[in-house]
Symmetry: D2
Subunit: 183 residues, 4 copies
């Protein structure tokens, strides 16, 4: 049994990436397996901008709590927006804070990256940029990634993906990643 954490890396309430990770969580949960898939909410872990002086006064509670969860997980699935062709500042800030906890929670974790974007390229440049620091800290970033283009047209009123082919493609990648962990 493996434990998977899942999170959408945008703070906006109606975020496309919150919707995409919600779909991913659904797709994994309906498949029978002895794995555990826990959907976390980015907004539940508010953190200040990283400042070594804040850290010196004591690690913020949200950092300690999330670091503990990450330490106990086997794998992580993140859906991230692309800001300016790169990894979003708030996501990098969370990543940086967690990296200050010892032992480093990220190291050795398997991670699958998804991304939703209103553009035609589907966050593909943001995903490439996001891989770099994750790998630098010893994460096994899964080679395949999933980019959802035109995200503003992709979801129905229940936040479900409209296009069955997109859903199927996402589902296949999720199961491939899940089963990769079994090895």
């Amino acid at each position: 049994m493996s434990k998977f954490l899942m999170m959408g890396m945008s703070l906006r309430k109606d975020s496309f990436n919150k919707k995409l990770i919600f779909n991913a969580h659904n797709l994994l949960s309906i498949e029978k397996s002895d794995h555990e898939f826990e959907l976390l909410h980015f907004n539940d872990y508010p953190m200040p901008l990283y400042d070594a002086e804040i850290e010196a006064k004591g690690m913020p509670d949200t950092v300690v709590k999330l670091a503990q969860k990450i330490s106990e997980a086997d794998a992580i699935i993140l859906s991230t927006p692309e800001y300016n062709g790169g990894m979003p500042g708030p996501f990098k800030n969370l990543f940086d804070w967690i990296s200050r906890v010892k032992p480093m929670p990220w190291t050795g974790k398997h991670v699958l990256l998804l991304g939703a974007s209103p553009g035609a390229l589907g966050a593909i440049r943001g995903l490439a940029h996001t891989r770099v620091p994750l790998q630098s800290e010893g994460m096994f970033v899964y080679p395949d990634m999933f980019g959802l283009p035109k995200a503003h047209e992709a979801f129905d009123a229940n936040d479900l993906l409209k296009d069955p082919k997109t859903t199927q493609k996402l589902g296949e990648l999720l199961l491939k990643f899940r089963d990769h962990l079994k090895r």
Copy 2:
């Protein structure tokens, strides 16, 4: 006459990158020229983590103020730490906020990247990672960069670079960049 903004991209009071940009500002200021070199302080522009809902309620004052300054500048010199082999979260967050102002203040600006790090590689991976979103928004990122390794041993009690060769190398790059703007 060109107007240069300069900033160290760390919030820590005794930040190596604040010291490095202070040295860079000194080196440019002592050279006679009709250019203007303004040293800004990252901590004077506190910003929340980017959230489209905050933006919808009105752009934060610090974003508006800094965006205005950037719009009026010809060139920017930034000294950035490397966090986890990449661009720091707080720097990316500032970059993302400013990018939301119309017309986009970053586009068409020339930028020189410096970096200080206690490690042996001198923030070189962080600088490479930082180039990507800056270029994506149409900045002319100067090809040469300056990485200061072992930054914890590099400055004296007055925050000045100890090693004359390092100072000379930094000075030469700064003048090359300054004169590049003249073209």
Copy 3:
């Protein structure tokens, strides 16, 4: 007056990138200007795979000839395929050979990158990967790039771009780059 070199970085006779650079050359040539736009052919500069032992016996003629041309140019426009999400081997090999000539011909040259690909992303990942070594050698890689997706459907029987909007977008970027050189 500036001198521009242009080349498509694929060896295949019917290469999409040869067609794209041919269109770019047309678009620049029909505009009245006192600039010179020379279209070179990749196949006219055959080079062995880089091997320091070959170099030790004498720089290949094609390397010497092309290095001379690059040294005399002010700017370079290259159209490159994407191979495996990155810069093509034959293009990198040419870049590596030319970099061995002293003084380094690439340094200080302005370069605009175009890319054509049969895929939906239009060589965008290949272009990002190509920037890295070019910038490392001191080239001013223009921030904007042009990616042509579905290149197998993009050209007519005379190798001209079919879609007027694509042609216009390409033309605008080319003129922006050309005029950037004037500064």
Copy 4:
């Protein structure tokens, strides 16, 4: 039992990367294990510059032979020079040729990247640039990498690493990678 292929990605006879992979092969071979470590020589697989017209006439024998070996391997250890801050042209050319064989031999293979360079940074930028196309084709590129700086001073007359600490660090990474495959 896993099968590991190992290769130094430089054509030069006295290449630092040939020496580094030779050391890596020694270190793995002296440890008792039921794995197989095969050291291949880049020069045994001469390939033309990739050209779709050559491919159309028939895949070169060296491509077919090496692709077969890669298909049968579980993992690959490569030591690569850095050319101009990036992946060397000849290495990328080999990678591109092999990628044309169906089914794609690279997909799903685990790979560890080493790099030797006479510079102070130890090929670290070249290694980062090399990861990108490998991951794009579905390789599991191990997060940790090994960069050997000042490679021209690193080996003794028998091509062995002089510094015991460097040897130990390399050995530890190799065993970590080897044991990662066991999972």
